[in-house]
Symmetry: C2
Subunit: 412 residues, 2 copies
């Protein structure tokens, strides 16, 4: 086996394995609480929205034919039948040669088929309106059912609800909807050199960083996080912590357990579950190679490297898409979801063919151009992630990239 | 005055006015709760991080000079002095010709200045290690203070705290930090034709959409929202609702009050506050022209159009940057903050010179290329915002844009 440790798979294959896990169950939430969730049902409209033809403008409802040919130099004239309040539904039929004053949002009376903006008119005396522009049938009118028709699907299952989607729910009077609930995400940190953040480390010890960065990242991806804190590198302690975390959560992230010191222990513990199975151990990305994926009782367990930067990169590349996928989003692994900014690479980068590299870069503006400056450094340090704005990905087929090349920077 | 109603200003000028408002006060929060907030203090490190030189690799601590010239074909040999546990601080000085087994994260013993990866070594018997690669001084070692030095600024005031920044706080043992609190954002919807979402509208009435979309958008920008719901288009009702909302919040958004029906009323009410002042009334963007900005008792009040799409565009262009600015982020109005995707424009767009247009577009993939298809439609309908992925901005100086042009789509 490569390097005498394990057989690596590609990141594409790793994502395929992640995609096999089932989304979490759904729950029913009130209108605004559905924001950013994925719909678990089709939402049907029980009404036409708008319910009636409504005006888009302040002006006069007219029969468009009465305005044909009208212009500044050759105005048309119609008689003002009346004006209507904004919430009034006028039943009086508008005849040819008549108009009715109407406010934005007001309902268009029967017989009228267009609205002329007040700016293109002039009152002459009390009842005559001069029309200085031609309007076409339907102009400045929101048609009945134009947003959504009665019985139609207003919002389909699987859709991520943006503010405007919540707006449509409001428009059709939906007070709640069934959405996938937030994935519950357990976080375990292992490593005998680690102490909790409120401890003063003895020489040789360091504070636990991964519990906190991973929880923050998971929260940004919409998960509810439950950190178990530090667990000693001991078989029984790790097994009982993992068992408890799996019981309470939909997915568990263990950091540290994939570095050489404790990797075998994590693997051993995962395999010791009667319903446990290692799906992958090693992925051809750098940093992040020693990543572990297991399934225990149907739930995913992701073993992240203990090195702080490696753990964050693995979380970005695999952990966060997994959480979004578990939250019911079918497009979670679509690379188009990543926020990218085009830039010019500021330095040569070398890479080992067969390995996908994620290089931290800082975006700097030089002569009006955005330049991605690599921040090379040790993955056990936080510094490169602190200085960087995002990642440049070097495909596995490449031996590197040249300074001056166009790159897409994956912003984090 | 233009159109007989008001004098419009540019969006750049409007943003300058918004930028004059002071950020909200700060608060002290626990470690992970600081995520996505803006630091209101410099965070100093009381320690060197790392506290000691530490290994980045599993392997052997060596004196680099002992490996100079070593290769697969011409290995060097050193004697294994001992191995160290990961949390052990070795005090024994490493002499020339010696090495020490070390795990990732372990502290490098005095005398050693590099670590060679275990993959590039071979044990010969019990005590001799064959070295097959040259390492340079400092190689595979995280140096004391490389993340941050004692007494240095770990994170400066004004910085938005990402997961890795929270990670650095954890590393230096900071349990809490002083950050700008969430802006509190009051939302008022006016319009006599509107009813709350749980009502069944009579003919001519429609449900209140803006309260919900604006609250959702504000929450996405990190604000805490307090919706007053619907307020009748009456002077005293609007004044008392506005007074109450200003008392409880840092900023108030009123939608509807800038359309012709109630615009004068909103202006009149804002001017009737002894400490109220209209800063702008009308901005040269479309949709969104009748936007109002006032200052009442030092707090901003933004009057948004009642048309649902216009309200959302004004919120994107002015409302959300204002909230981010109030939250202490000095770069809130930087256009580089917008999430953009390059695409090819799929149709001609016309525009009135002197007016900045925001056109809703849907991104479609055609022949492997991303095409931005305009979704033209009435701004009183939700449909275009539902169908669209983002906005194309047409600069005020242009008369339009041509199909096939490269555009940057502002994703929402």
């Amino acid at each position: 086996m490569e390097h005498g440790f394990f057989r690596v798979i590609t990141s594409a294959r790793f994502c395929e394995l992640l995609r096999l896990f089932e989304p979490v169950p759904s729950e029913t939430l009130a209108l605004e609480d559905c924001l950013d969730r994925i719909l678990a049902e089709d939402i049907l409209s029980g009404e036409d929205i708008p319910a009636l033809d409504r005006s888009c403008m302040d002006g006069y409802a007219v029969r468009a034919a009465d305005t044909f040919g009208a212009s500044e130099g050759n105005p048309a004239y119609v008689e003002l039948a009346r004006s209507a309040a904004i919430d009034e539904v006028v039943t009086r039929h508008l005849s040819s040669g008549e108009c009715m004053g109407i406010a934005t949002g007001g309902s268009v009376p029967p017989g009228a088929d267009a609205v002329i903006m007040v700016e293109h008119t002039q009152m002459l005396g009390d009842t005559t309106v001069e029309i200085r522009k031609t309007v076409t049938p339907g102009e400045n009118v929101m048609l009945r059912g134009e947003d959504v028709g009665e019985g139609q699907v207003a919002l389909p299952a699987g859709r991520r609800l943006r503010p405007q989607d919540v707006g449509l729910m409001a428009a059709i009077g939906r007070l709640e909807a069934t959405v996938f609930r937030r994935p519950r995400c357990g976080i375990i940190s292992t490593g005998d050199e680690l102490v909790p953040v409120h401890h003063t480390p003895r020489p040789g010890q360091i504070r636990d960083v991964n519990s906190h960065t991973l929880a923050c990242m998971a929260r940004q991806a919409g998960a509810a996080t439950h950190s178990m804190g530090l667990v000693p590198d001991q078989r029984e302690a790790l097994k009982s912590a993992l068992a408890r975390s799996l019981e309470e959560n939909d997915v568990v992230f263990i950091s540290g357990g994939s570095s050489i010191g404790t990797r075998d222990l994590t693997i051993e513990v995962l395999e010791s579950f009667a319903n446990g199975e290692i799906l992958a151990h090693g992925v051809s990305i750098s940093p992040g190679k020693p990543t572990i994926l297991a399934r225990v009782g149907g739930k995913p367990v992701l073993g992240l490297p203990g090195q702080v930067t490696s753990a964050q990169i693995v979380m970005l590349v695999f952990g966060l898409p997994l959480l979004v996928h578990l939250g019911g989003d079918a497009g979670a692994f679509d690379p188009a979801r990543r926020i990218m900014r085009p830039a010019r690479l500021g330095a040569n980068l070398s890479s080992k063919p067969g390995r996908e590299d994620f290089v931290r870069v800082r975006l700097e503006e030089r002569d009006g151009e955005l330049v991605a400056m690599p921040r090379l450094g040790k993955s056990g340090l936080l510094r490169t992630m602190l200085d960087a704005d995002g990642l440049v990905r070097i495909e596995a087929s490449l031996e590197g990239m040249r300074a001056g090349q166009d790159v897409d920077v994956w912003i984090f």
